[in-house]
């Protein structure tokens, strides 16, 4: 057994209303590549934020031991000083500065307060050579592709005398050959004695480079596998990622499917800024009355982009395809048209896109359907209040009063306000994007009950979720999405987490 580079013991991190990490243990040996796998929201990124000091010492419970010393980081600067460097999924580079400037950003080579440019460029060039990036150090970051930017991030880490390098989904946005290059580089760094933690969804990459694998599920560390002691199959990892008890977490519903409500056919969408990048590829779907249809897929698979492009073309450009409701072609070219045609879209980001946080529950509830509380062109405030009280009761929104600003509500109650807003518009089909994200278990159950009730009323529900058990527990049918396409469709009777996961990872 080699020496441990890092040991995290009993890490518990709570956010208001949610326990994100619960007694997580992680042991990383000196000089190995240690992979961390788990579903979206399992707590991988939170764990890395605890490790790197983004969540300072004292905001979590448990102990971090690095090179046999107990650490108490109060910020990211502390952990970097010890040689722990994290490279986030969203790269932290300044596009308008050069490679060299970015590498030494915040860590400039200065003499008497003046930057020593020759030294900066010499050292940058040396670092770039090391990571295998053939670009002049004076190139602006904005001119590089994501893969090359990733290499710059690693060069930046190396400039800081890195001992433990953490990579959060480094290959998620990379093409195949760039990914391979990056993994080769990781192996080279390993040969030089640098320890790495690799968070990834791509199991084939993990089996290629990892020495050990830790599985995180629902905020707890499930197991750690040693890749040298035994051969780890991908299905073994998958079952570790998804296996959990599903009993009684989802209210029961008798499905009574009616006519086909929503039909989307041959849907194509391109990236809003980069017209050559196709985000959705010739995709078709349908939702019947009384049906809850799920869309499974990893982050970045295009689920939200699909939903928003259908709903008033709120995402993308060069959109083509047909949307039908009850067989009739409908116009969804603006949000207003989509709403009037009978669609509703409950966004995944309720704070940024769903609510006006500074306003009270009433004003948020009636926003979509102001006409419904207007008589002779005048808003009827009493009627508005009556409507809000009604939804407060029927959706069990926990608040002292409907005059409460929504920013003071918990996540679950905020989500119910968003649902009230759309229910008051009386849609035929609701698209729910991650309807239970960041919501605690009890409130989740209530949201599920609301969804069931919507289906019982004969509405169609299209539900996007990263939590596979949720889809399995709630949906009649599940589409599996990857890279802008549906790669499979399963009835709930034949679906399982293993099937879905393997459809995604093998696509």
């Amino acid at each position: 057994m080699q020496n441990l580079a890092l040991e995290m013991r009993g890490i518990t991190k709570t956010f208001p209303g949610v326990k994100a990490l619960d007694q997580v243990n992680l042991s990383v040996r000196q000089g190995e590549i240690h992979a961390i796998v788990g579903e979206n929201g399992a707590g991988k990124s939170t764990l890395m934020k605890v490790l790197s000091g983004v969540y300072p010492h004292g905001s979590y419970e448990g102990e971090i031991c690095f090179e046999n010393e107990v650490m108490a980081f109060s910020g990211i600067a502390d952990s970097e000083e010890k040689g722990i460097i994290i490279i986030h999924q969203e790269l932290a580079l300044v596009p308008l500065l050069s490679i060299a400037e970015n590498i030494f950003l915040g860590n400039e080579i200065v003499e008497n307060g003046v930057i020593n440019w020759p030294e900066t460029y010499t050292r940058s060039t040396a670092l770039l050579k090391k990571v295998g990036l053939r670009e002049p150090a004076s190139t602006h970051i904005g001119k590089l592709g994501v893969g090359k930017q990733q290499l710059v991030e690693i060069a930046k880490a190396l400039s800081k005398k890195v001992k433990l390098l953490i990579l959060d989904e480094p290959t998620a946005a990379l093409q195949e050959d760039d990914s391979q290059k990056l993994l080769d580089l990781l192996l080279e760094l390993k040969a030089e004695g640098i320890t790495s933690i690799l968070i990834s969804h791509k199991l084939n990459e993990i089996s290629r480079v990892a020495d050990s694998i830790t599985v995180i599920r629902d905020g707890t560390s499930v197991e750690t596998m040693d890749c040298h002691a035994e051969t780890i199959s991908e299905s073994r990892i998958v079952s570790g990622m998804v296996g959990r008890d599903m009993a009684n977490r989802y209210p029961a519903r008798d499905s009574r499917l009616g006519e086909t409500l929503l039909e989307v056919s041959h849907w194509n969408v391109f990236h809003p800024e980069r017209a050559d990048r196709q985000m959705i590829r010739d995709l078709s779907l349908r939702v019947s009355a009384g049906e809850v249809v799920g869309i499974a897929g990893l982050m970045g698979s295009g689920r939200t982009e699909l939903a928003m492009s259908i709903f008033g073309r709120s995402y993308g450009q060069k959109i083509s395809g047909e949307v039908r409701l009850k067989g009739q072609l409908i116009n969804t070219s603006t949000v207003k048209q989509a709403v009037e045609s009978g669609l509703a879209y409950v966004t995944e980001d309720r704070k940024e896109l769903g609510l006006i946080l500074e306003e009270n529950i009433i004003k948020n509830t009636t926003l979509v359907n102001l006409a419904g509380v207007t008589t002779n062109g005048v808003l009827d405030e009493n009627e508005e209040r009556r409507v809000s009280e009604e939804y407060k009761t029927s959706l069990k929104i926990r608040t002292p009063s409907v005059f409460q600003k929504v920013m003071n509500l918990s996540g679950g109650n905020q989500q119910k306000v968003v649902l009230s807003k759309w229910l008051f518009a009386n849609p035929e089909v609701l698209i729910l994007d991650e309807p239970t994200r960041g919501i605690d278990v009890g409130a989740k159950y209530e949201i599920y009950s609301i969804i069931n009730q919507l289906a019982d009323e004969g509405r169609g529900v299209l539900m996007i979720s990263s939590e596979m058990p949720e889809l399995l527990g709630m949906c009649d049918r599940i589409y599996i999405m990857n890279e802008g396409e549906f790669v499979g469709e399963l009835a709930s009777s034949e679906a399982s987490q293993e099937k879905i996961m393997s459809m995604i990872v093998s696509a």
């Binding site: 709120s314 207003k336 500074e358 062109g377 209040r385």
Partner: protein
């Protein structure tokens, strides 16, 4: 009735601290200067002047409130007001166009200018700070060009009445002006009647959240203040014409912002533009409209200012935008948009106006006036932020 009434007077006042605080501040500032100026502030002739001097700021503050609530800013209003004054002078003085033709043309020109700026802000997403900064320079320059650097005047008498005229005494008493007293009483009764009606309807829904005592005292005070000020004005020359214009604008815009879906959508737009857009609100058109409206009100303010000076001067409207923006922020609007009231902006403008007027009477130099006004603006905004942080 009192069964629902579980809100104590103290907590109610606390909850509406900002609203009452603004009005209280205005009253305190007025009393302060009333004492310091040994009663000059509230003399009928000074009160009349105070209203005339601030009418154009108040009118622009109403438009600016909508722009700021929508999450933008308009720096061009002073220049636009000056430009429209110049345009009016050229049309009426140089070309002898009748007022009935010139005024509508001027208002339309103002709306067009606002629309032109709003177009870039709304549909091209160019920051309003930049667009209206450009507009400020452009229309300042165009004012100079139009007037060829000279003052142009005097305006015809009928046009001057826009600003210097008074509502005549239809009862023939003249002093005190019975029309003014009558209108004051009618307005007071109307306000009380509407308040009672609103309260009764709310009670019918079982929704009174204002303690009865607060309701009575508040409305009695408002009615009394209205009648008292009307009486003071009546002992001089009665209601100035601009007061009527202003009152109409305040009523109309308060109604729009509080009671129509148009108003509600502007608040939603400023509160969270993305959420508003995903709720089916045409945010671009709404932004465009607020700027168009601002342009029109700036034009009206420009006309009133020109009529007051009797001539159009190249410097007219200079730095007005600063007073207007300050008034809106003192009145409780939020810099990030989504928060603010028409009445707040009006009270904010009055606070600035009373301070200007009071300090001038006291003979405080323009230098120290600026310093004090700046500090008051800062204090008002700090008060807001402090309140907000305390609420969390």
């Amino acid at each position: 009735m009192n069964k629902n009434n579980n809100v104590s007077i103290g907590t109610h006042l606390k909850g509406h601290l900002r609203e009452f605080g603004m009005l209280a501040a205005l009253v305190v500032i007025m009393m302060f200067f009333q004492v310091l100026t040994e009663g000059t502030l509230m003399k009928p002739v000074n009160l009349t002047n105070l209203l005339l001097q601030n009418s154009y700021i108040i009118i622009m503050a109403i438009g600016m409130l909508l722009v700021i609530v929508a999450g933008h800013i308009d720096l061009s209003v002073g220049s636009v007001a000056g430009f429209i004054g110049a345009l009016a002078a050229v049309m009426m003085v140089n070309y002898d166009l009748p007022m009935m033709l010139a005024v509508p043309i001027c208002l339309a020109a103002g709306a067009l200018i606002g629309a032109a700026q709003g177009y870039w802000v709304a549909y091209w997403k160019i920051p309003s700070f930049i667009v209206t900064l450009a507009g400020m320079l452009v229309f300042r320059g165009l004012t100079l060009a139009l007037l060829e650097g000279q003052s142009v005047g005097p305006f015809p008498d009928t046009f001057q009445l826009l600003s210097t005229g008074f509502v005549p005494d239809v009862f023939g008493v003249k002093r005190p002006n019975m029309t003014a007293i009558g209108l004051g009483v009618v307005a007071a009764l109307l306000i009380v009647w509407m308040a009672v009606r609103t309260r009764n309807r709310a009670l019918k829904y079982g929704m009174d959240d204002e303690p009865f005592a607060v309701f009575v005292v508040k409305n009695l005070l408002i009615a009394a203040a209205l009648i008292y000020i009307s009486y003071l004005l009546a002992t001089y020359r009665g209601y100035p014409n601009v007061l009527i214009t202003m009152a109409l604008l305040i009523v109309v815009y308060t109604f729009i912002t509080n009671k129509t879906s148009l108003g509600r959508r502007i608040y939603a737009l400023g509160g969270n533009e993305k959420a508003a857009k995903l709720s089916g609100i045409n945010t671009e058109r709404l932004t465009f409209l607020t700027f168009t409206n601002m342009g029109m009100l700036a034009a009206l303010a420009g006309l009133i200012f020109a009529a007051r000076l009797k001539t159009a001067t190249p410097k007219a409207g200079f730095a007005f935008e600063l007073d207007v923006i300050a008034a809106v922020f003192i009145g409780g609007a939020s810099m990030t948009g989504g928060v603010g009231k028409v009445t707040g902006a009006v009270v904010g403008a009055l606070i600035m106006g009373v301070m200007n007027n009071g300090m001038s009477i006291l003979g405080i130099g323009i230098d120290w006036q600026q310093v004090i006004k700046g500090l008051v603006l800062l204090a008002a905004v700090i008060f807001d932020v402090y309140n907000k942080n305390k609420a969390h």
